[in-house]
Symmetry: C2
Amino acid sequence: MNQEYILAVDLGGTFIKFGLFSPAGECVYSWKARTALESSGDFILLQAAEEARSAFTYCGLPLESLGGVGIGVPGAVIGGRIVNRCVNLGWGVFDLRKQLQQQLADRGFGLVHVQALNDANAAALGEYYCGAGKDYRDMALITIGTGIGCGIILDGRLREGAFGGAGEIGHLPVNPAETAYCGCGKRGCLEQYAAAGGIVARTKQQLTKSNTPSLLRHLPDLTAKDVLDAAASGDPFGLDAARFAGEMIGRALACISGVADPQAFLIGGGISEAGDVILDPIKESFRRNVFHTSTDAVIRTAELKNDAGIYGAYHAVRVHLENE
Amino acid sequence: MNQEYILAVDLGGTFIKFGLFSPAGECVYSWKARTALESSGDFILLQAAEEARSAFTYCGLPLESLGGVGIGVPGAVIGGRIVNRCVNLGWGVFDLRKQLQQQLADRGFGLVHVQALNDANAAALGEYYCGAGKDYRDMALITIGTGIGCGIILDGRLREGAFGGAGEIGHLPVNPAETAYCGCGKRGCLEQYAAAGGIVARTKQQLTKSNTPSLLRHLPDLTAKDVLDAAASGDPFGLDAARFAGEMIGRALACISGVADPQAFLIGGGISEAGDVILDPIKESFRRNVFHTSTDAVIRTAELKNDAGIYGAYHAVRVHLENE
């Protein structure tokens, strides 16, 4: 029986979240710290290692009881170790495993296994092992918020991709007629239509096109939540925006299906909290756009919310250590 | 050392092709027969079993030396055995493994393993083991002809999909503005733009829109080959059609990349024989439409042509028997 602790880290552009898991797999201590973004993110791994040492001291655990670290990062990761750019953190391409192992060794932890993964992939593993994905061998978690992320698990295995780009569906080319540019430099990406900013932009555009009364005309700083709340109370512009975002997300799910054909799609992230007002248009669009083989795929909301990444980072390293 | 023969079958709407592989993995005898399409395809498996027995008799092999049958079918297959509809053959949903095993047993073969798979998936396995995919752990084979098929191999394993729909990229929804219907009943599918019929339709449409001279104006029954041949000799309508088909295929490859992110894309099928005149627009569109992580993915032509399916069906059953 394994007697080692596992540290799970969820690295975001604002906060780093930590979860310390006991040998029995229980999260015994969790905390968060503001991300040290100074100097192109050069201090982030040092900060993570310092936090780890402080936590072990605080919990009265010997440093040698750390068996592994799982770390979700907001960018592409190749082979569980190489970061292939994280724009939010100022990171380019480097060996995260090696650097974090060094930082941990410098603080007395000895050589521990480090398993790095994309944060959306970590969240998908979390849902797969502990959330709405428990009943499926194959699933995709789609998180819709400021951006659109996705983690895909096929036949029980996380698909990271040859270049760490698997599940980067926020930038699927869904509309060849688009003339406006996405933040990524391409045109017609899913995020332009279905992430929070796209939902607000669509609403503002439609409001200028007619004089139909709407409560959304009277809100000073329109947010996607305002729009979806308005949809829930029957506002025509809210309903239009939800239908349009749902159409584009359903098309993207049909693309995931035509490529990888998972059994289930879980919808998470802030936008998913609007419930059926966004879920129903997604389902309707998916059924209409997917190839006939796969119309029975399940579409449902995710369960774990903000904790998914921590649980997934834990399971990523647990699975690795068990298969060693 | 295995001493059994493997029979590979490639089931098409016109011909059934067969390849008999020796225990050393050599294709020692290959032949084809016209597919028995009568009575909604009820006799096709009987025919395959009869052909197998005739071949064993002809080659002087004892029936008990048949160790397994791999069979590619033009429709979705789930879990190596359940056919999830083949419109071309008149087939609905049924257990192909069980039925073919029965037909073989009725002819004295005993109980042999039958591994069924989609024909595009079989071709992908063929390229992976014996063709242009040999150097990659991850690859997608895209075959462009009358229709568009695709087989995807991730980390050395064929991805069939929870409903047998993985790689069904001919019906990816690539154009939300389309008003015309695809043969599948949806609108804006990749096949509408980039399969042979789509290439011809685009050319005819563009020819009516201007008076620019073109050798394509003088051909009575325009084919996709005519159009791509004209492109190769610099005809403006040929070049436009190749560019447009390449644009849409490149977008579909970018979708495959954003979902599964394979290392390499192999382009096969009749349309690929046009060479760079179609390959260059595909590459250009892919680089422009793919997410930045994966711009270095390889795009090249496939190698095996019509034999890919037979080789893939052989390897599907070989791998299964070796892992048993």
